[in-house]
Amino acid sequence: MNQSRSFDLSKKPRLGESIIQALLFLAGILSIFTTVAIVYELGKEAWLFFGDPEVTFAKFFGGTKWQPGIGQFGIWPLVTSTLTTSFIAMLISLPLGLASALFLSEYATLKTRSILKPILEVLAGIPTVVYGYFALLFITPILQNIFGDGVQVYNMASAGIVMGIMILPLISSMSEDALSAVPRSLREAAYAMGATKFETSIQVVLPAALSGIGAALIIGISRAIGETMIVAVAAGAGPNFTINPFEAAETMTGHIARISGGDLSYNTIDYTSLFAIALMLFLVTLVLNLISQWVVNRFRERYE
């Protein structure tokens, strides 16, 4: 049975395969192109904005009024309202999200979990504009009933609270993932020492999952800063330099939505200023997302 024919075992060039591979590669790097396009387009217009002789560094970071149309370029009113609404949102979503994650991961039986988990998923799937309706027409009247006339129709508190409810499922599911990743042996060891379930959860499991929970917190903040529709509907239309949650004040995202909603003409200071704000939003959320990924990778407790 001697084989006399010799085989050429080197890789054959196949044109079709190469073309397909090139196309797939293009699809893969399109995402890089998207990022580049975001940075380039936002950067270009923002450059025009900051290049305007009227816009000075001192005005931008020193002013407390934002009305580019009449030469007022203080960014602070938009920043304070963004921070206020985000802070309120985190005040709601962090404790609630963490508590529900602890319950789902440490206490709930499989059956309870299978009922409770979908409810959180439904909350996560509701469009943000619907949350905006809820904030304006449900939460705001309740706030007005409790706190009286000091609460304006549009106010940061109701937007922040509803934003917190919106972010709750995100915090909860990310924290739960972190808690479930803690190996069972740690819990068993704690129980063997006579710890109660609560002591085990708080003193053993929670510290071990802290990096994942930190990451969830950071992602939550990033979501709150970038959220648009809830604040556009409920937080107010018009920059206002205040941190009083019961006053109306426009956030960075809300401002972009309101100004761009009209027929904006290109190459005006209004147009370029929106891109400057959007660039700030993009950079802040990008940095937060990167930190969150870094925290997860760097501080992950490794068992095995």
């Binding site: 699809a27 027409l137 109660t196 027929d263 990008l286 997302n289």
Partner: protein, 412 residues
């Protein structure tokens, strides 16, 4: 933190500490659980709030007395009589326009009656009440309405009717519908899908099957994860700069002979949505492809298949259900997105159906936003109706995804 004492209590002291510790433990368990209760209550309150706004009493007046048009009681108006009334009282231009939209003769009695109310009698809504109020204090409301608006009629009305689904936009809340918005939303989601599904699947195949494990691939992967976290309004700005402005000759259709539009078209918005859901589709598709066991690939290579033959004949067919499920979930995100559409330039008032990729557009979430921010309560009522329509559409999409997953999911 009681357990970390230097000494360990014994006897009665131990039992009391133990009881204490268990007490604290069950208290906290209740607290943890109450977080979920709050979540459930919020969801319930939200749904109740929407339903509450959709139904309820409405007090309205006729701007013109119907008896100036006809002596027949309104309930007994026949089609023929309505035709005559409309023809006599509408200006001939307005009548012709309506006739061109749909021949008057072929319209139903209900349609004509709506036209009669909308165009001739005209309705002036005085006040609306929510469902809860209407049910709990029906008598008070009837008394209040009779006192405040002696000429007004009081009616229990559902703002969400079959008519609401098929009527185009109107500046009067009582006669507005979501037909244009639903069609706009479907167009947007369709364009986003056509754009993002092939590219997203391609990118996922590249990353899972072809990409070498090096720094460049890691950058692509990190970048995709980051894009998934970029605020949607930033995508709107990107769409405004690229699709609306730079690519205007294409997206406005002027390259293809369409003359009456600028770059703020369905195509621009759909592509923006496509770019927005692309990272989600890639990540989901990667998961689906990852789930295909290596043994299948090796078996294919073993019988001499090329890389693409392996992917096309084995990897893709075994992961397509997962890819589609992920894509549907990504699309449901696109269906509810509002902010990028505002930035890209959705029309706030438009009453003609979108006729193609180069038409102006509106979408369901845009209408909800518009109506919610109006001051009059009748607009809040139709916003609530539109929210129910949107939620039902989302529910349908998600149910389809879950059915797909259960039907085609394979376990290896």
């Amino acid at each position: 933190m009681s357990p970390n004492h230097d000494h360990f209590p014994e006897g009665a002291a131990f039992r009391s500490t133990l009881k204490n510790r268990y007490g604290i433990a069950s208290l906290w368990q209740a607290l943890f659980f109450s977080a979920l209760i709050i979540a459930i209550l919020s969801l319930t309150a939200l749904l109740y709030n929407v339903l509450d706004g959709t139904f309820g009493y409405i007090a309205f007046e006729y701007k013109k007395d119907p008896t100036t048009f006809t002596s027949t009681p309104l309930a007994d108006l026949e089609k023929d009589e309505l035709l005559v009334i409309l023809k006599e009282n509408l200006s001939s231009g307005a009548y012709k326009k309506l006739d061109n939209e749909q021949a008057m003769q072929s319209r139903s009695q209900a349609d004509l009656y709506t036209l009669f109310l909308e165009r001739l009698v005209q309705i002036d809504t005085k006040q609306t009440w929510s469902m809860t109020e209407s049910i709990l204090r029906g008598n008070e409301i009837r008394a209040e309405a009779a006192g405040k608006y002696p000429d007004a009629k009081l009616e229990f009305r559902s703002w969400l009717t079959p008519q609401f689904l098929v009527t185009p936009m109107s500046s009067k809340a009582e006669f507005a519908g979501v037909r244009t918005a639903i069609l706009g939303s479907l167009w947007l989601v369709g364009i986003a899908l056509l754009f993002a599904l092939p590219i997203g699947t391609g990118a996922a195949i590249y990353l899972q099957e072809y990409a070498p494990k090096n720094w460049f691939t890691r950058i692509i992967q990190t970048n995709i994860n980051n894009l998934a976290g970029v605020p949607s309004i930033v995508y709107g700005m990107l769409g405004l700069a690229i699709f609306v402005r730079v690519l205007e000759p294409i997206t406005s259709g002027s390259l293809f002979g369409v003359t009456d539009s600028n770059g703020r078209t369905i195509l621009s918005a759909g592509l923006t949505m496509g770019v927005l859901v692309l990272p989600l589709i890639i990540i989901n598709a990667q998961e689906a492809i990852k789930a295909v066991p290596d043994s299948l690939r090796q078996a294919a290579y073993g019988v001499g298949a090329t890389k693409w033959q392996t992917v096309w004949h084995h990897v893709l067919p075994n992961s397509i259900a997962g890819i589609l499920t992920g894509s549907i979930l990504a699309l449901s995100r696109a269906l509810g997105e509002t902010a990028p559409l505002i930035v890209v330039g959705a029309s706030t008032f438009i009453s003609v159906d979108p006729s193609g990729p180069f038409s102006k557009f509106t979408a369901l979430p845009i209408q909800i936003y518009q109506w919610t921010t109006r001051a009059q309560s009748e607009f809040h009522a139709i916003a609530a109706g539109a929210i129910i329509v949107l939620l039902v559409m989302l529910l349908t999409l998600n149910a389809t995804a879950i059915m797909l997953r259960n039907r085609f999911q394979r376990r290896y």
